[in-house]
Symmetry: C2
Subunit: 190 residues, 2 copies
């Protein structure tokens, strides 16, 4: 049992306690086991990473990149798919770029590891880049690094408004606050 729990813990979001609950529930009920099997099949067959923005695609379609009604000249840079998912549900009508993490010198996470080259390749002169990295130390490092690289290559750079508490992780912010922060974004280069 402990062996199986250790395996499950390798998946993001699953703690020992969660793993134990899940295992007991699926031992007791084949129905629950089939639910997870179904979900894995759906993910395996229909979901993938978007080659452009690194959000997920369903049946090869990305809700951002393959939506013609979105403003291609506005890219909101976020650190994870979770935040991109929140932005998808908000009123924001531009594009996103999912970094998959933040620059972290202590953990040897360099710009190449977090999809930054892909971001830089997307940027053009007419664009506004909205930096929506976390307002934490590593989030700031990441934002400043991006600003330095792109400042000559785009029209406008902005950061989320300080509606978000200092030191706060975007993960726990409600959608309302998030869209407010996008609307009140602070212009860094105009």
């Amino acid at each position: 049992m402990d062996e199986v729990i250790e395996k499950l813990k390798k998946v993001e979001g699953i703690t020992s306690k969660t793993a134990e609950k899940i295992l007991i529930d699926i031992i007791e009920s084949k129905e629950k086991l089939n639910i997870i099997k179904d979900v894995l099949k759906t993910i395996d067959e229909n979901f993938d990473n978007c080659p452009i923005c690194n959000f997920y695609t369903i049946n090869k379609k990305c809700s951002f990149c393959d939506n013609e009604t979105r403003n291609k000249d506005q890219i909101c840079v976020v650190t994870s798919k979770k935040e991109a998912n929140k932005i998808l549900k908000s009123d924001f009508r531009g594009m996103v770029h999912v970094l998959n993490g933040e620059i972290n010198l202590n953990k040897n996470i360099s710009p190449e590891l977090i999809q930054l080259p892909k971001l830089f390749a997307r940027i053009s002169k007419d664009m506004e880049i909205i930096l929506a990295t976390n307002l934490t130390f590593n989030g700031e490092v990441t934002a400043n690094y991006i600003i330095n690289v792109i400042k000559e290559n785009c029209k406008k750079i902005s950061r989320l408004a300080r509606g978000i508490p200092f030191g706060g992780s975007l993960d726990y912010i409600d959608e309302e606050t998030l869209i407010n922060a996008i609307e009140n974004r602070r212009i860094i280069k105009k």
Copy 2:
């Protein structure tokens, strides 16, 4: 995405936030997806419910019922497999019986629904029954119901010592405290 999250939430222990984290992790990494697939396969092929005590079996063997060195005349009655798992790791050398819940009149959970008939069928004159239900209202109702039914049919009935805080759920008790409470159990019938 929300549809898949709703599905996963049907499994015990998975909240919306956990489901989202799991899904994003398995979209990003096939390796994680395969870990869960592996776990499901292992559970499906090797794990089952023990027909005697309702703990789990691995390859049809129950760590309690199929272990000849355990004392068959001592049955510790618990409400879930999780607690049985803790007891398995402790120094207790008797058997267990997993109830799968507690009697709850508000929720129409009657004795038949929680594996009590199976418990009663196991009891014999030479046995000690150790009641390790939670020290909550429904745990007490369940314990009292069992005491009333079995008091003439076994040698000894005991409850866990009050080392466990009143109103406390067994789920969050460490193994040390649990084994102490078993050792200091209060005798109800001698």
